[in-house]
Amino acid sequence: MKATDYLYLARKDIANFKLRSSLIILCIGAGILSSTLNLYHSSKRQEELLSSLSGMGSQMISIWIQDKEIQSKDLLFLSSYFPYTSYQVSGQNEIKSFQKIKKEARTIATVPQYQAVHSVRIKNGRFISSGDIKQRRKVCVIDTSMANELKVRVGKQIRIDHDGFRVIGLAKAEEMMSGQVIIPLSVCGEVIPSESRNFEVVILTSGNPDVLRKEIERILEKRFPDKKQKGRKGISFDNKRFMVSTAEGLLGMIKEQRWTSRMITLGIGLVTLILAGGGIINLIMLSVRQRYKEIGVMRACGARREEIFYLFLLQAVLLSFYGLLLAGIIGIGYVGVFGGCGFPIFLEGLLWSSIVCIGVGICGCFPARLAANISPWEAIRDAN
């Protein structure tokens, strides 16, 4: 029997159990899709963490503000303790030059101290000044490589979403600056959408970062005590309003995040494997039982055991392949629409999913073996 004949026969069987087959395909597809998207999203978050880490020397302390009610002015007091304190509100925006060149970028609204804290080197023009902040000037600093992409020079205008901003400085193209647009902190409200807004304070210190981290945590906890919230069943839980970490701590967090996201992916994959694998065993058992007599007839016509085995195994493999295809198409569409920065991660997810699919396919081995071991005469006799 040749491959095309196997395919032909297996397809006929799948068509015979349309509802069950589509349910299994959906189950595999949904499982793979959710585990892959989980991997994709968590890695996007890791990238954000990494990007804030990349500009952070070992002497830095980062404060993530999780409570949207806390604003930059509430934290200005930190500057009196630490001269090098950078307040940064960031979000995703679409940048457009007047030549209609579009680009996704991370917009960071910040203060002049940003330059020192992150050691930004200016090649042309100047950095954001305190005057820009006071006057709420719509100006921005980008790096030379983005300037080349957008075909702009110092003094020219670009659009961030719908607002025009004048380029006042070009920074040296370095990892820290890539894909970023820096604007004065005071104009962030008009530009950065509040739902995707991140607020972070980065402090450059000369002391022991671990000791200082604890100190800052203590000060902040005093000022912004944790809100005790009532859950639905009356259980109260802590709601952290901020998170203080050192570069080292941040690195640990990223590692931990990587691990948990891999574990969740693995978990979803495993559940998919169990559900879809069980479904497939059930479906193929059914098909074997329904075709009991036919298996006998095929054997009488000269089918070898292994040919019966592969015929039923192929059904399982085809079903899981269709599931993978479904997840792949939806997933690629999704990644295409919602930004492509995690595409390699998405592919990695699909790779893992293929392993799940192979596992699901292997589940088909059990019923396929049963089918192959049916004695031809018993099957034919039974039907007489």
């Binding site: 029997m1 040749k2 095309t4 004949d5 006929k12 015979n16 007599k293 036919e294 006998g296 007839v297 095929m298 054997r299 009488a300 016509c301 000269g302 089918a303 070898r304 055991r305 292994e306 040919e307 004695s375 031809p376 005469w377 034919i380 006799r381 039907a383 007489n384």
Partner: protein
Amino acid sequence: MIEMNNITKVYQLGESRVEALKEVSISIEQGEFISIMGPSGSGKSTLLAIMGCLDVPASGTYLFDKKEVSNLTDDELSLLRNEKIGFVFQAFHLLPRFSALENVEIPLIYKRIPQNERKERAKACLEQVGLGHRMGHAPSELSGGEQQRVAIARALVNSPRLILADEPTGNLDSTSSQEVMDILSLLNSEKKITVVIITHNTQVAERTKKVYHLKDGQFINESN
């Protein structure tokens, strides 16, 4: 061609033992046309299954073309059935989701014949049994007689040396029975295919050249 010596077959059903065949011996030459008669439960189908290598005897020797069948592997038995034996059953046993043509193609699929040649050969066989105009029909769209003719076309598509038919006319009216018997005797006389028919019908048995009678798992006198 077929040399069976002291073949026994025992079915163990819990406590009770059914001896379906008791030391049956039979030898069939190439080109013979024989029928086996006998009351229900006498072991006819059991004998046919062993002859067709679908089942194995409990004891005894079975030589097919001078080769001991019990020495063959499962794959070799499949090949033997595929190339040398064609089966026809009382209940036709066509695959319901396949058209007449596709049903006839099945033995060729297992012989790895390329698709074009397969279709040609299957068509030719269907025409031979007078069903050239029914090739695309599903079995459920065919009459009993037509279904049995499709089954015969399937049995002969690989040019077998032996056709084993277990009550081929059992589900058919007399006209269809005649047609089926016409085809089987033609295959025997023209292509020298050995044909073994199990039947309850004396008219059917009369058309064969030799009749064996089986009773309680043993042959009784043999008549010509």
